[in-house]
Amino acid sequence: MEQKTLDVRSLTVCIQTMKGMIRPVNDVSLEVPRGGIVGIVGESGCGKSMTARAVMGLIRYPGKVTGGSVYLEGREITSLPEKERRKLRGAEISMIFQEPMTSLNPVMKVGKQVEEAVLLHTNCSKEEARAKTLDIFREVEIPEAEARYNCYPHQLSGGLRQRVMIAMAAVCRPKLLIADEPTTALDVTVEAQILKLLERLRDAGTGVLLISHSLGIIARVCDYVYVMYAGQIVEQAETEVIFDRPAHPYTRGLLRSVVSLREGAGTLETIPGVVPNLLRLPAGCSFSLRCGMCTERCEKDAPRLLETEPGHKVRCFLAEKEGVR
Amino acid sequence: MPGGKQKQIEQAADLRVQSQIGEEERFRDLMRRMARENKTAVFSFFLIILMTLAAILAPNLTPYDENSMDLMHRLSPPSAEHLLGTDEGGRDELTRLLYGARVSLLIGVVPTLLSLILGSALGVLAGYRGGITDVIIMRAADVTLAFPSMLLAMVIMYSLGGGLVNVFLTLTLVNWANVARVVRSQTLKLKNSEFVEAARIIGVSEGKIMRRHILSNCLPTLLVLFTLNVPESILTESSLSFLGLGIQPPNASWGLMINTGRQYLYNAPWLCFVPGAAIMLVVLAFNFLGNGLLDVLDPRQKKQ
């Protein structure tokens, strides 16, 4: 069997808000194989970032991981004491964020910020740490690494800052890298460079969990895709399968509403309505309000995530029937 | 105004401009949220109302006259007859306290309102017009702010002379610069905000933009400034009166009562500490209320 870097089982995150309890991550299970890029795709507020933070153990009050387990190379990590957990962060699992502008400490030299991670997780001297930092800078193609080492974040462009973030995340050779919308704030030409960099890390054996709202990015780099909606995974399959024969109406809608670069169209496909408020989810299927094929059953009962073909799971009653057939 | 607060007000205001996020943006909703979350602020609000009522109804609340002397009962300690004792002229301390509340509250509110009007008008003008108008107004504000507030108040009181109206004037002149600075910085942000640009592109006139879009969006900030400036004014006046530079006898403000009571600190300490406690209570109530408002109007608090 394929070696799994990350195995998340039935992860649930709750947040107690003023107006009631919400579940931004609801019973999410996912896997990242060694040396693979796995994508989570969904619209804003679907819980994809929260899932990433839960895996990292970065959920803070009032949010709370209320159930499920996370295995990193076979080792359960949610039950570890905070001190042990901390040793994993930055060393075995690391994360890069959406906003390279604000994710770096403005009053600290970028080199020092990367070095800090090295010093924290290895027993090397300052000189060695510095050498490692410069190595990783060169590896992520930061030009003039020595000069950049002494720069402050505001002196670097967005693309370079994101490279620094990747350097910081990759410097300890983690087993898993979580990239939370790493290119949303960047221009397309720089985006392509950053994606290339992630692929190189993948080739070096790091498992990558890529979170994005863009199907284009997912199609370009991911091997396997999870589609999230309102805190739940509604469909999961290999990338080719998702794009070739999407089974969930939401995935279909998403794919249809992608504006094509290649050909102009008359009218664009849309998904009616808006992303539901997590406080006021419908009783049955969470997508039922916007679904064109909604039945009475969809309004009453919540569908389960069922396998329709090997490696392809869908959370929809209609797909269930098709699967049976 | 405590320095840190001013900074926070400015930042909160800036953030409100930047991020008109959140579901509870409306003022009424915000007030409701504060009432729900911050019981101290609500309590403070009612305390202020209560004190105001007590000050207004002073003649109905006490049998004694404010100024009638009773030399037989000078400096008598608190008793059933005189709940808070009597002062050096044998006047009932509670009565003096209630009447003093009128002056002290008036001194808190009137100059604060005046300085808000003056300061926000100048601040919006400086921020929106820019150029030489801005330079002149802001240099004037800088000069005002270069003075320790007590010192400026002393100098102005010195040249104007004592008395209620002059205290109003003085405190207005001391406080306007803070208001102008906060309002200006917010105006600068609002001026570059998209909705003001949108109004300009639609063709709305400058005066209307200033009134309708800028000043109205400064209102929550002005409310916070008001609640936090009132106690500041009360404190400054009481300090002035303490030095004998504020309200002149026979009018009684709390500060003046402390000033006269000070001579008897060692044999009749209540003459100092009772009005002192009153000042503290009012100031504390306003500060709690102001902080509550500030918290609820600060979008950062919502994020967490």
Binding site: L215, G216, A219, S257, V274 | Q20, E23, E24, I202, G203
Partner: protein, 322 residues
Amino acid sequence: MSGCLLEARELTKEFPAAGKKRIHAVSGVSLKIREGETLGLVGESGCGKSTLGKLMIGALKPDAGEVFFRGKNIIAMTEREFKPLRKELQLVFQDPYASLDPRMTVRDLVAEPIETWGLCANRKETTLRVQDLLRAVEIPEEFLCRYPHQFSGGQRQRIGIARAIAADPSFIVCDEPVSALDVSVQNQILNLLKALKASRKLTFLFISHDLSVVRYLADRVCVMFLGKVCEIGPTEEVYLHPRHPYTRFLLDAVPVPDPSQRGKEIRLLKGEPPSPADPPSGCRFCTRCPYAAARCAAEDPELRDLGGVQAACHFADKAFSV
């Protein structure tokens, strides 16, 4: 070919930046917008496309250059002369959250342009007209007295559009109107814009960094790089046969939702975009261009006509093997 509605000639705008530098936002841009067309304006962040949009409607004063609206130079006009033209030239903003005054109701927001221009005699008429407008952008009438924060991003953008069309303008600049929205909502807005354009005979300048969106809406497209026009021409032509190397790289970099393309080697642009405060000499793209020759750094290429498409590259008529 229909007549020219708006023409920019040699527009230049610079902004002061830290350390006495100047940001060259727009440098000598000339272009024509025909009546009734949609011109797409694409480019990466900081290339001056928003600034150009604001210059075209007179919301910003250029440092040099002219803008002609129906043949009249609006830059040379006094404020009084320009005022009646103000309502002809409108803008839809990128951020549906920041562009609506949070303290005004939807009615007041949409009524503001109507009242400003005195288009209705009284309050009742104004409200009726506001209702018409809201219907046009598909906002339910019962939301008339709500405040902006009670709406979703897409609905707010609809309100923004209603405001822009309230005074019946002839030209609207859409400044990244969908980039803050989710995909599913984005398409609703794009469809609405297309429909409004047809029903109200509008002319659009559609600014976006998203090439696919521009492809859908624009009749012609203009590609900008660091304050200059690289290429301008009919959308199909530019997308299928890009003349300028930058356009090619831009098109190539867009991730296509087609997994069969995965793993296919794409050629990437090297390095970071240069800073607009310190643009390179000669052709501004020369520092990133793999085909740059000595001439590119020395000489600024002019826009040249190449069979319907204009491109600013010394070697635009040669075929590149990208």
